[in-house]
Symmetry: none
Amino acid sequence: MISSIAELISDRIDAMPAGERRAAQTLIANYPLTGLKTVAEFSAAAGVSSPTILRFVARLGFQNYPEFQSALQDELAAQLQSPASRTLNPSSAGGAVSPMLEATLDNMRETFRHLTDKQLADIAARLAERRGKTFLIGGRFTDPLARYMAAHLALIQPEVYHLAGQESIWRDRLIDMGKRDVLVIFDIRRYQESLVRFAEKAHQRGVQIILFTDQWLSPIARFARHVIAGRTAVPSAWDSSAALFVVAETLIAAVTRQLEAAGAKRIRDLESLR
Amino acid sequence: MISSIAELISDRIDAMPAGERRAAQTLIANYPLTGLKTVAEFSAAAGVSSPTILRFVARLGFQNYPEFQSALQDELAAQLQSPASRTLNPSSAGGAVSPMLEATLDNMRETFRHLTDKQLADIAARLAERRGKTFLIGGRFTDPLARYMAAHLALIQPEVYHLAGQESIWRDRLIDMGKRDVLVIFDIRRYQESLVRFAEKAHQRGVQIILFTDQWLSPIARFARHVIAGRTAVPSAWDSSAALFVVAETLIAAVTRQLEAAGAKRIRDLESLR
DNA sequence: CAAAATACGTAACATAAGATACAGCGTCCC
DNA sequence: GGGACGCTGTATCTTATGTTACGTATTTTG
């Protein structure tokens, strides 16, 4: 079975006329980049004319050039999203312990790869500054993450609230929210209508929203000041929230550290209690 | 020094108006693929208009959109050619983030290294067999994990209950528990007296206890039929429950798979609902 | 060696892409 | 509360990209 376009090419390259073969070789030489450029650039790189490129693409079975490019992009997306870390991963040598674990580790690496220190520091700073209140809420499966984060944050600073229960209950809490407040929302597919509505209203009131979502971005991203996009794909019937969980823990640690550095009295009191 | 466009973006994202920030977040969320598509596709993905995308690109310092795309392609080319550079990305290269991530990944590997496939399979089988009820409970910080697991298990099988609220409330639930039932407890340092008492009483009633704890083992291990010891040490003021979280997800996946294999009617019904 | 078939490039075309002008709107500041 | 500023989207325009038609060159085959 032929999975990648590169395979497809090397499979048919022998049956190609000279010009198209040059196109094929040029593409393979630095795959897949040349194929993402324009026909004119591709043809120049291969030293052939534009129609030759188009005929080459047609021979591969694509209707037109954009379709060919989309296929390349999809392939690239798949590559970038599940890094080939299987090769450079020490634990994978141990056998089929758990594909689940491997996927989860990949997800975490990939999630953090798209997350800069600065982003995390900014979000931590926003959570640490005590100008307003902090609210946390999550969807059906992610609400426990909101609870987990709330449990920690509530300990190191005042005015941290987890929004639980029915929609009507948290909707009424909107009255307490304003520009100085922060709302942390967890929402992964399938995105919850009620959360989107809630986020929109909070946004209208000027609340700063920090969104934890998956790589396809919840519609709440529209209203969010900060967006954390975690990878969720695992070999399971369910999506994995593990990557988001680790980001949450990382943020908790960062906030704690910032407050410690700021010499917050509460932290000292807390330490004396421990 | 700013080397990659991703860095450039996260550096300036704060100085951007809302619409352009959405563009930035969308691009970062699955970088750099969105930037290689057309302006129209990009704008649709970000939920903004085409001009906003162009203004976003202009703000980054590019003269026009093609120039921006070329820059992305060059960056991609460099990445693809030296695979090593993919591992040492901006976020993991240095800074305060990566020690946390590294420790967490190590914890997971180590946790699963001490966990055999058979153990996991046994526990999953125990959870999947529908002879009695399943109860879940956790400590101060780990109760969200119990909730998370309960939210999934309750969907794929009946009679799954998360024990919430005050101690007196769950103590009264002991009446409903018997030999055929399973109790999943999450308890890491500092171990909670109330949980230990509860576990002991449940054990006396013949309840099968599955314990999620840390490597120093909660005293509840005395009463537990199955013990999962996760690594919790991270460079933070708090312990990490991430490894336990991943084990929980793994078990959820395994139980789901077993029930699917057993052809449970509920699973089929569930799938028709999705 | 000649004729046919195929391959290839030039040039004109149509389409879709990126760029721009402008008006509406919200926001901030005085 | 009013005015100025800045942001955003709609509609229009321009550019350049992909596509096609056709003639020439090249190879293949009888």
